[in-house]
Amino acid sequence: MTIPALSILLGLIIYPWIKGIYYSFTDYQLFKTSINFVWFQNYIDVLFSEKGHAAIVNTLLYTVYTIGIELPLGIGVAMALTEEARIMRLFRSFLIVPLLIPPTVAAIMWKVMMNSTNGVINYLLEKGGIYGIPWLTHPSTALLSVSLIDIWMFTPFVIIVIFAGLQSIRQDLVDAAKVDGASSLDIFCYITLPHLVPYLLLVLLFRAIDSLKMFDIIYGATKGGPINSTLVMHIEAYLKLIRGFDLAHAMVYTTLLWIICFLVAQFFIKGWTKTTE
């Protein structure tokens, strides 16, 4: 019974994964007929190169920026959504819209809006006296700008999960705390937040992995530029293989990315398992 599932797992996931890691230790380029084992030379090339550094640092920074803003923003909005006001009920209906848009379409849409001379965002900011933000066109602002696209797209996911967590808090606990004189801050710190920990860890797990391996938003908006300021590991792996035919170096980036994602996932899964025991 398990043989078909095992065959798919082995054939489509395990075998290509192991083969890919093997290629990362070779000099395999798609236009060459010979493959030679080069030990760790490719890893040294990547880890000690300017582009390799940029890709790794940008990947980690992108993850920190996106999660660092999505999480508190998501919690705040989810808490506001628990209000029964009509506008909040209306807002809940439109909340999911960004999640329905394909990431590449969202990237192109925001690229047009963030155009520094013709874009609607700078047009509106100029009305408020703020001029000439370069958004995607300067290395100092490009990474944060693509992070903002991610935040716009995926904060609704955070909101939905946290909202579900908030809905599961027992109201009698909150009422009892209020009767005992607890302030809103006390209720948030001692009831709400501890109750939300498993949901937060779940959200962090999903968003961290997604952000670490982000490709479509960044490629659609900047292709890793300008001057590699938004180059992340997944994009560099793609460029190495598709534009450079260099499978070996491409697999180094994907293997390193897998290691980072695995370690992050292990950390959050352990934490989540502890909180749900």
Binding site: L30, T137, I227
Partner: protein, 193 residues
Amino acid sequence: MLRDSSTPDVINYLWYDEFEQFGTGKFAFMIGPNMWAPTYEAPESPVKDKVNYALPPKGPAGQISSHMFTWSVSINKASRHKGAAWLFVQWATTKETLLKSAVERDNFMPVRKSVFNHPDFKTRVKVWANWGENAKDLLENYASVQWTPNPKIFEVGDTWAVALQKIILNVEPHKALSDAASEITSIMKRAGL
């Protein structure tokens, strides 16, 4: 010129951004393929009747040079219907198909002189300012296929493009291009080329 006279967004531009921005009247001039003329001269185009076409500028040696971008129709070695494929290729490259493709479908890249000299083609391009004379001059005297048949051409091109981005952002040109040259040398060495 790009730094002083173009939009800051040009640093991230690809060919379709340039195509779109010129076609909506945002750019005063651009260097690009002349096959975009049907879009610029379409009745609904914002720049219709406002475009003139010029030869590429002369290089440092005083010569004009232009790359002829091409597409190819090919038959895969593994094809099980090579006969049918060959018939298709012949049909796709006939004078009649190329003429119809250009005149009726705006697919403006015919490869036959007979199409360029056909009265229907000439009538179509007659209203496009000097496009006709310019294209003829380019094809007869200056254009050639200059595509470098090297598997590393894209990676080398990307490295060079990053150097241009640095120059636009005021990095000293000699340094930016020297760094690019070192990286390109290392790319080619690693590829064994």
